[in-house]
Every structure is written in structure tokens, then in C-alpha cells.
């Protein structure tokens, strides 16, 4: 950071604080832009979008558009599900590269929508970086949803999926505790695990609970209850989305997501299989 930036080609030492000269000013840009800070913010915004469930195409597009809007001459943006990287070149030849590592992706569609709206707005008319930083802080705080409401939603959704797949009302009641367990695990993440191990353990736990409800005499069709639980875990695997990314030209990202989707499916199936085996001992 700071002063030891690389200099562009053979130009004289470029200034760190790039102030737009009148002829280079992008329409409406009447403030100075610190390139380092601008790139850092642009990367943070697009990384947060990726973490909230955006497609790679959208992430790279947003990053490029924001940097362009703030007067970059050239932007090289690259992203895969675990990384966002960009190099910007300013009109005076100063260039900088920044990389952001993504560790976990979870669907936070309210944050994604806020950030999308913010990036659209600043691309239409760039705002000073201080304001942008404040807006970004505001956009990345999720809408307030009380935990009990989310729990209730998970519980009802599990029962709904059970009914949809042909369970009767007793199966739907049996699915309530399964939904509660899975939503509780998802909301609290009591053990710190990566997504595959988490899916496997959650599947085993949910499967055992399904079998328990069957032996207690609550559920008539164990399979329907289990499917209700599986449906809560499944949207984590975005098989269709991975193929879409492949065909949009994001080959690496598409492959990574597809492998993750397949492994998640295997983990869900294996988790419930383990539960069935354990249940068979009793």
C-alpha cells in the first residue's frame, strides 16, 4: 500500500492522487478520485455481490463499469467463485492491481439487490468516494428479518415441500421439526465447517430426525418427510446456474460451480443414506 506503487511504462512519476483534468473529466465528475481507494471500493462492492449470490458475469461487469465511471482508461476484471481481481489503468498511466479472496457464498438477495441498485446509480452519475463508502456500508447491511420469522419460514417450507411431494397432513406435521432443525443449523452454524462437510452433517442430522418421527408414529411416509428436508438443502446446488456461466464464457467459474453442485448433491444423498443405515440398526 501507500507510496511503493508501480509506475506505468516510461512516464514520469505519476501522482498517486489522480485529479481529473478538465478534458478527461467524465460527465459530472467534479471531484478528485484517489485511484487506490476507488479500486478498493469497487472491488469490495463487487466481492460483496459475489458473496451474496451474484453471477460471475454480473460481478465482472459491475467492477468494470464502476471503474470506467470513475475515469479509468482500462479495466481488467477477473472473477471466479473464490476470487475477485482487477487491474485499472488511469489516463495518466498509473495502474494498480487488487485481489479479493471470497471464502463463503450464501444467498443474501436483499444485499445483492441493494448493491445492484447502488452500482447502477453510481455508473449513471459517480458520487464522491466518501459518499460511496457510506452508501456501501448502508447497502451491505441486510434488511432486518427477526430470527424467529426465518425459523418459522423454514419450518413451514419443509411442511409445504412434504405436502407437494405427496405426503399427507401427518407427514407435514412430522416435517415441522426437521425444518426447524435445518433452519436452526443454517442460521446459527454452530460448528465452523466448510459448505460440503456442513451439508453432509446437516443431512445426517435431518435424516435421523425423520426416522425418529417415523418410529414415534407421527409420520406415515418416511420418504416424503425426508424429501421435505432435502428440498431445504438443495437450492444450495445451482446446477443450472453453473451451466449458464459455462455458456456465458466463464468456463472456470462454471466448472467450479458445477463441481460444487455435484458434490453437494452427493453429500446430501450420502448424509441421508448414512441416517438410513444408522436407523436400520434399531
Amino acid at each position: 500500500m501507500g507510496s511503493e506503487h508501480t509506475t506505468g511504462a516510461s512516464t514520469a512519476a505519476p501522482t498517486r492522487n489522480w485529479a481529473p483534468e478538465p478534458e478527461k473529466i467524465v460527465s459530472g465528475l467534479d471531484f478528485t478520485v484517489d485511484t487506490d481507494r476507488m479500486l478498493s471500493l469497487a472491488i469490495q462492492i463487487s466481492s460483496k455481490m459475489l458473496e451474496s449470490g451474484a453471477e460471475i458475469h454480473r460481478v465482472e461487469d459491475t467492477l468494470t463499469r464502476i471503474c470506467r465511471a470513475y475515469g479509468a482508461r482500462e479495466v481488467q476484471a477477473f472473477s471466479i467463485p473464490s476470487l475477485v481481481a482487477a487491474t485499472v489503468t488511469m489516463p495518466d498511466g498509473y495502474h494498480k492491481t487488487e485481489i479479493f479472496r471470497i471464502t463463503s457464498i450464501s444467498n443474501r438477495y436483499d444485499v445483492l439487490e441493494n448493491l445492484n441498485a447502488l452500482s447502477r446509480r453510481i455508473c449513471a452519475s459517480p458520487i464522491p468516494l466518501d459518499v460511496l463508502e457510506a452508501e456501501f456500508e448502508k447497502a451491505k447491511t441486510p434488511d432486518h428479518r427477526p430470527k424467529w420469522l426465518l425459523m418459522l419460514c423454514g419450518i413451514v417450507a419443509a411442511a409445504g415441500f412434504t405436502l407437494f411431494f405427496g405426503g399427507d397432513w401427518r407427514d407435514a406435521i412430522a416435517a415441522l421439526p426437521v425444518g426447524a432443525l435445518l433452519t436452526f443449523l443454517d442460521l446459527t452454524k454452530p460448528v465452523k465447517l466448510h459448505v460440503l462437510a456442513y451439508t453432509l452433517l446437516a443431512s445426517v442430522a435431518a435424516g435421523l430426525l425423520c426416522i425418529l418421527t417415523f418410529y414415534v408414529g407421527l409420520a406415515c411416509h418416511m420418504d416424503k418427510v425426508m424429501i421435505g428436508g432435502i428440498m431445504l438443502l438443495i437450492p444450495g446446488l445451482s446446477f443450472g446456474a453453473s451451466i449458464r456461466e459455462l455458456l456465458c464464457g466463464d468456463i472456470i467459474a462454471g466448472c467450479l460451480r458445477m463441481i460444487q453442485a455435484l458434490l453437494t448433491a452427493v453429500c446430501i444423498a450420502a448424509g441421508f443414506a448414512v441416517a438410513v443405515v444408522i436407523g436400520g440398526w434399531f
Binding site: G53, A54, E55, H57, R58, R65, R68, N107, R108, Y109, D110, V111, L112, E113, N116, A117, R120, C123, A124, P142, D143, R145, L149, L150, C153, G154, V156, A157, G160, F161, L163, F164, F165, T183, D186, D223, M226, I227, I230, M231, L232, I234, P235, S238, F239, G240, A241, I243, R244, L247, C248, A265, I268, A269, F272, A273, V276, V277
Partner: protein
């Protein structure tokens, strides 16, 4: 198709629309999108069920339903000025092969190889149909202009 089957289909449609809508709350979708997500999910399933009952194969009926769901998603995303993912992911949930994935796994556990192959093929066919349906629409959708973003 007799009236009992029709009633069952309508009940399933209602159940999946409600479940998807509720599941969308878990995915932190903003409240203003929820009605159209529920509508989209119900529509997707109804189309799939109608096509399947007419006698179309699993692959084809899933493909067409996924195509219509994706078109609906692209339209809604543009109407509400929201990212497409918000609509495209939830509206596919009714078609997700959760059931056949489970039955394939269960058949494998019971050592029923024939059942495993048939259920496994179903799972792959559904996933393939979904994928083809989604991509055939959304690859075009990516290149269509989006209101709000100026092209530079």
C-alpha cells in the same frame, strides 16, 4: 384427465407456490418481490404438470417449463429493476429433482439396482432439462439491453 387428478394438480400447485414463497423469505428476497415469485413458481409447476400429463417426456416437459420460468424471471427482473438471479433461482425450485434424488439414493441403499438406474436416470434427465431450458433463454437474456445501465 379426471377431476380428481385436476384437483390434485391444483393442490400441488398451491402447495409449491406457498412453499417457494416462504423459502424465498429464507433467501432474504425483498418483500416486494414475494408475490411475483410465488406466482412464478405456481405457474412453472402447472406448466410442467400439464405438459407431463399430456404425455411429454420428463426431459421435454422440464425443459419447456424451465424456459418459461426463465423468460418470466427475465421479464420480472427488468420490470422490478432487480438482478435476474432473484427470480430465476426461486422459480426453478418446483422442478428441482429432490424427490427422484432421494428415491435413487434409497434404491441404492436397498440394493435395488434396476430402481436405482431408473430413478438416477430421471434425476439426470430432469437436471439436464432444467439446464437446457435455463441456458437457452438466459444466454440470450444476458445480451439483451437492460434498462438503467447505459451502454458505453
Amino acid at each position: 384427465m379426471n377431476s380428481a387428478e385436476l384437483m390434485e394438480m391444483l393442490f400441488s400447485t398451491f402447495a409449491i407456490a406457498a412453499s417457494t414463497l416462504i423459502y424465498a423469505v429464507l433467501m432474504r428476497v425483498k418483500l416486494r418481490h414475494l408475490p411475483s415469485i410465488g406466482l412464478g413458481a405456481g405457474m412453472t409447476y402447472l406448466i410442467f404438470a400439464l405438459l407431463n400429463s399430456v404425455g411429454l417426456s420428463l426431459l421435454l416437459s422440464n425443459m419447456i417449463a424451465a424456459m418459461i420460468a426463465t423468460i418470466y424471471g427475465e421479464i420480472m427482473a427488468r420490470l422490478f429493476k432487480a438482478p435476474v438471479t432473484i427470480y430465476s433461482l426461486p422459480s426453478i425450485i418446483p422442478l428441482v429433482p429432490g424427490g427422484s434424488l432421494y428415491y435413487a439414493m434409497a434404491a441404492l441403499m436397498n440394493g435395488n439396482e434396476a430402481e436405482f438406474v431408473s430413478r438416477g436416470t430421471d434425476t439426470v434427465m430432469i437436471a439436464l432439462g432444467l439446464a437446457i431450458g435455463i441456458i437457452s433463454v438466459s444466454v440470450i437474456g444476458v445480451f439483451l439491453p437492460r434498462p438503467g445501465f447505459k451502454r458505453k
